[in-house]
């Protein structure tokens, strides 16, 4: 086929596309008239193309002519369809004037559970500090959940864990700390890792207890890390999560796997530290346990306890979500009523 003929075909196709596009915007009689003039009128591009057929070599002329005829038929059909549609719209009467107080068509957007949202906020802080994320199993053994974490056998410190046991030596992890052990057995220091996950305790069900809960654990191992670094990390975390000006209280506590151990509280989000019901009048709300990794824990995973030091912390996600959102009953997280879920 000659260049001239191809030129005609291409222009016809472009014309068809342009006409379709313009047709979509036709919504009244004057628009329809304008469309007709532009695409089917005497001075239309289609007419111009038809007049130019003479310059196409004779062999190609029938094919080019047929393409232009097809196009004309298509444009005529479009015109009729547009006319029919406008006529139908006119019969249906005019659309009511726009009412901006009418709600828009609702966008169907789902919600992430507040525990997920709170975890993602916590994770955002620690990933900025270079912490990776690790996971571990929810069913654990005594070694990972207790002995490797320096819980002495038959020691009352185990009672504080309220463990739920399965068959044999299996148990449901009471904290995410066993994943510290798993990570250290697999990876060499330096380490910065947070561990989110579900834990279980033999708790009754009431406004502040539930047999399952979620924790985020953190572990940092390096050659020089201090209690001051731990305190600074958690102070920055408290401000990140609860807003600038949030104060922290850092007091001694006991956990077998850290020493020195500390308990982190924030200035009460309800009363700002004046003392109120939710903070028991103290002005402080506990949000995390923390401490310097106990040298025995390093020994249990084969790290050189003289060379490596580290800090670790753990916090309950429900607890933090409750403080952050002012939720007063932990059961709400597991009831999943829409009136609750849709608030987040």
């Amino acid at each position: 086929m000659t260049t001239e003929a191809q030129e005609v075909l291409q222009q016809a196709e472009a014309l068809r596309a342009a006409a379709d596009k313009a047709a979509a915007g036709v919504d009244d009689a004057s628009g329809l008239q304008a469309w007709r003039v532009e695409f089917l009128g005497r001075k239309s591009a289609l007419n111009a193309l038809s007049k130019g057929l003479g310059s196409v070599p004779e062999a190609d002329r029938p094919a080019a002519g047929k393409a232009l005829n097809d196009l004309r038929a298509k444009l005529e059909a479009t015109y009729q369809e547009l006319e029919r549609r406008l006529h139908a719209a006119a019969e249906a009467g005019p659309a009511p004037p726009r009412d901006v107080t009418l709600p828009g068509a609702p966008a169907a957007v789902g919600t992430l559970h507040p525990i997920t949202q709170t975890y993602y906020e916590i994770a955002a802080f620690f990933t900025q500090l270079g912490f990776a994320v690790a996971h571990g199993p929810e069913v654990e053994d005594d070694f990972h959940n207790f002995s490797a974490l320096n819980f002495p056998p038959e020691h009352p410190s185990r009672d504080t864990q309220d463990t739920l046991y399965l068959a044999g030596d299996w148990l449901l992890r009471t904290h995410t700390s066993p994943v510290q052990i798993r990570v250290m057995l697999e990876q060499e220091p330096p380490l910065r890792v947070i561990v989110p996950g579900r834990c279980a305790r033999a708790d009754a069900v009431d406004a502040s207890h539930y047999p399952v809960f979620h924790q985020v654990e953190g572990l940092l191992v390096d050659e020089a890390v201090s209690l001051a670094d731990l305190k600074g990390t958690l102070a920055a975390f408290a401000e990140y999560l609860f807003g600038a000006g949030t104060k922290i209280r850092f007091i001694p506590d006991y956990f077998p796997f850290t020493e020195p151990s500390a308990d982190l509280s924030i200035s009460c989000v309800m009363c700002g530290g004046e003392g109120c019901g939710p903070c028991g009048g103290t002005g402080w709300l506990e949000i995390a346990g923390a401490g310097m990794v106990h040298p025995n824990v390093f020994r249990n995973v084969g790290y050189d306890a003289e060379k490596w030091v580290g800090y670790a912390f753990g916090m309950g996600i429900e607890r933090i979500a409750m403080l952050k959102y002012g939720i007063d009953d932990i059961r709400l997280f597991y009831e999943n009523n829409f009136d609750f879920l849709k608030q987040f």
Binding site: H113, V212, S226, G232, F250, P252
Partner: protein
Amino acid sequence: MKYSFQWLSDYCPITVSAERLAEELTRVGFEVEAMDRRGADVIFNVDVVPVRSDCLSMIGLAREIATFIGAPLTLPPVQFKEVHIPKEFSVKVELVDQDLCPRYSGRVITDLKVGPSPPWLAERLEAVGVRAVNNVVDITNFINLERGQPLHAFDLAKLRGRTILIRRAQAGEKLTLLDGQELELSTEDLVIADGEGPVALAGVMGGGESEVSPSTEAILLESAHFDAVSVRRTARRYGLATESSYRFERGTDPTATLEAADRAAALMAELADGTVLGPPVDAGQTEWARPAIVLRPARANMLLGTALTGEDMAVLLRRLYFDVGLDRMENLIISAPSFRRDVSSEIDVVEEVARAYGYNNVEATLPAGRFPAPRRNPREEFEREARYLLTAAGFHEVYTPSFTNPRDLEAAGWEAGGGVPVANPTVSQFSHLRPALWPALAEVAERNGRLGAPSVMIFELGTTFAPGEDGAVVERLHLAALAAGETAPRSWSGSPPFADFYFVKGLIEAFARERELAVTWDGDLFRVGEAEGKYRAAPLEPFGEAHIVELDVTGLVDTAPPPHRYEPVSRFPSVVRDLALVLPEEAPAGAVAEAVRASSDLAREASIFDLFTGEGVPPGHKSVGVRVRYQADDRTLTDDEVNAAREQAVQAVAAQFGAALRE
């Protein structure tokens, strides 16, 4: 444990208010959980951590208070007249199993007049919740609370013979306790036995036979050091928890047994007319060495982020009753006081330095040091992707408990006796671990429906549990979604469609597309890549039916999706053609559309836009509308090309499925 402000003040002049004291105690690691006024007194409920058993007593906590408020500690004098023991009262103690009882001290006291305690003593006990019984029993309780050394008084007249054996119980031996409970003892239990048999469960509870009664005149007062683990095991074996076992299982001070017995004896002489006989009973190890611990000040400073001198540290530690010396390397040589059995290594001393220095005074800095190389976490990425996809599709995330129970399991179609039971469930409806997520989702949907929700679209990403080999438990990560009722929010401009099979199938397809995996269906079962899933339609009021898909995504998590490659985009316009096909009813419409797409390289997409039977369609047939998009990468298609491709499609589906174009 409960502490009385007034009682504490007996040993240390507390010059601060109760509120201030509570703050101070909390600041140094003894969290005051509650404070209650009781007349002129204030009762503190203090959470004492398990390793600080030295503070499970008034004197113990007073020692800390003295240190931290800077007041002197005054211990009560122990003074009494000792009468040489006459032969008939002499008790021989045989420490048979010294491994479980390193030291056994005591006193024989005679001429006692059992009667009510003086008011001050009864008041001290009652202030902290201990009922006053009689002077002899009250004094043993008082000393336990004062010093944390549990005491036990045996009525000497009821002991058979004058020999006391501290030994493991023999098989089949029985003992009736103070509370009337009869135990059949285990050979692992340590007992106190007289000439004929056990008279007390060592460190846990005395026997009923030898109990002090109003007619008691002479007692053997026991003040022993029992092995913590042994006491704990025995107490647990019989479900017993006493003031005595509580302290022994946390560890007591072996050097303090005799002084506690003597202090009690002095009070018995004073308050119950007793005659204290001597020499005292004191069997076993009486000398206890205190190990030397080396503290390197530089290491302590590195660990704490402080800049203290060795001398600063020595001052702090001495205030906590530690002996501190120096070695040639300027290291501190520490020996902890005998009551601080929790301090045995350098790190324990570092913690004491921090506590004495004050966590408040430690600076807050951010860690310097080396950042490990960032690591991807496929599970974390998978979870985020799945959650964002499902919420974008309008689904709400839910969290349901990991537990279920046999009744719900059976209702959900599991066989009886299956599942993973919890050995010690606290809540009966949580007796087993969940094998799947969907039953809990159905419950959530039902609850929301009852509350009036017109639509439920929910999902959960969570762990399920199944029995594995040798009692192990197999954990799988599941993703489940449920849709019931309307599939979009209601609007004034029209009603949304109702959820059905195709709605949740579409969700699975979107999920698979995201991971670039193929979906295959076989009845209710489906696969997304290698992952297996199941569709369920569960009857659910008030919606009629809930449509649920649950997919085991464990295998997907660790296999990252294949690297996503860009496909060149054509710059030439595409042309759309519709095919109205009449097909036998049993012809699979999805396969027909796929055949249309495969019939020509120019067919880029073929989708079903219409499906109906009835008017205009012969019986046993259906009409399927397939919309095809034709496009080439290098040119604009001509009508002839498109028509030819369309004709190929018609022929292909005619041959494969007996399809004909509808006129």
